[in-house]
Symmetry: C2
Subunit: 253 residues, 2 copies
């Protein structure tokens, strides 16, 4: 099963529907589907919510609304509170990155709630008491106040990336050039540099060290090597032709 | 030096000031300070921007505005483009997590630009051509469209956490209970369970295995052990007293 299907996002006492909408969009981006609002205090007419949710508006409309946190998490096997501040009952906090493997394991056994508090007040101490785990999102100490949907996004992103579901596109779509091909390029380039008169034999090896540094970083794939070899070939032609023209010109003087 | 000071956030052709404001707030949360807008196309009167920026409004007002991406990144030692889609020139992409160590190293040597495109069009191919690196943020394939400020937040969060600047509060503020203390608790608990009549000697060790599982997970610190030992002490008193009362009652019958 997909453990993300057992992750339940719980928002307590939310004031702004725009935040709910942004939360829904971030949830959809990160493969989460279950939203519960506890005693929402929405001040507006929900038009902001629909606007910010964009294509995740179905997720928003499918939300569950309950009166208490206790009700929201009664069937959960873990309840993860998010807290920005320290304090007597908030000392045992972990970062999202560290905790997500455990949460995903727990989510294979039952619903796991991730609980976010009010924009203005966070979670109250009696709500913290319902939590089996507490997390705190790393933020710069100069500006610690994270927007609600941005806090959710970070936790959701850590959960999503920890599942290993996202497969990065192959880093190089083309095959890598092997050492033989790179050596062949170096030989062609060396010849080309001599042909165009950029360097002369006694110093050639020294100059080639400079080119080797650049090419060792820059030339990675077969197409990379081919384009440079093609250019080197043409440089050699130009150089040889220029020398012949020079000779011809000299001869005709 | 702090490499984050050399990270330059560049937004190309932005339509909504609310996104700029949210970007600024996310930047402030993650210790970034430098914002450049390239040919902004802001449709509104910037009031959304100020509202979404909250305390990061100074960062927003300090932004640089230029006409072209070339101008925005001329002095940069690396230019990191963000792209949601694949395509001919966009094949070589990495995830933010994988690339940030390299970006932080480069940032000790000069400005590193992180470039985000238009809400409606992303970055154009000629802008991708200016990039030394490309990143793609992991998102669920069902809903790939990330809000601009949320995309920025993820990259900024990866940069910030990779610096190791954020120090998680000590996981346990109290000292951990050592094995001797835990054994002492187990002994007191065993006695208490016998005293209250919860178990009897032949099965006592078997029952204690059940308690050991719970305590090995739950009792971690010295205060944890002390509160349980205190409770066990009281259980023993209650159990012993109850038995005496029982005996007295029997005797007086």
């Amino acid at each position: 099963m997909n453990p993300l299907d057992n992750i339940r996002v719980v928002l307590v006492g939310t004031l702004y529907s725009g935040n709910v909408g942004s939360v829904c969009r971030a949830m959809a981006n990160m493969g989460l589907r279950n939203l519960t609002l506890v005693a929402p205090r929405i001040l507006d007419d929900w038009s902001d919510g629909a606007r910010m949710a964009v294509h995740a508006v179905d997720l928003m409309n499918a939300r569950r609304e309950v009166a208490t946190l206790e009700e929201a998490v009664a069937d959960c096997v873990a309840v993860v509170g998010t807290t920005a501040r320290g304090g007597l009952y908030r000392a045992t906090v972990q970062t999202p990155r560290v905790i997500v493997p455990e949460l995903l394991r727990l989510a294979t056994q039952g619903p796991v709630a991730i609980v976010f508090g009010r924009e203005d007040q966070g979670l109250h101490n009696d709500e913290i008491a319902h939590c089996t785990h507490l997390i705190r999102i790393p933020v710069d100490e100069q500006y610690q106040s994270l927007n609600l949907s941005q806090a959710l996004l970070i936790v959701a992103y850590e959960l999503y990336t920890a599942t290993g579901t996202y497969v990065s596109p192959v880093e190089e779509a083309d095959s890598l050039a092997d050492q033989a091909m790179k050596n062949a390029l170096m030989a062609k380039w060396r010849k080309a540099m001599l042909d165009i008169g950029f360097m002369e034999e006694p110093k050639a090896d020294h100059m080639m060290q400079g080119f080797r540094r650049i090419f060792s970083r820059g030339v990675k794939t077969v197409p990379d090597a081919r384009i440079m070899m093609g250019a080197a070939h043409q440089m050699s032609w130009a150089g040889e032709t220029a020398r012949q023209n020079d000779l011809t010109a000299s001869e005709s003087k």
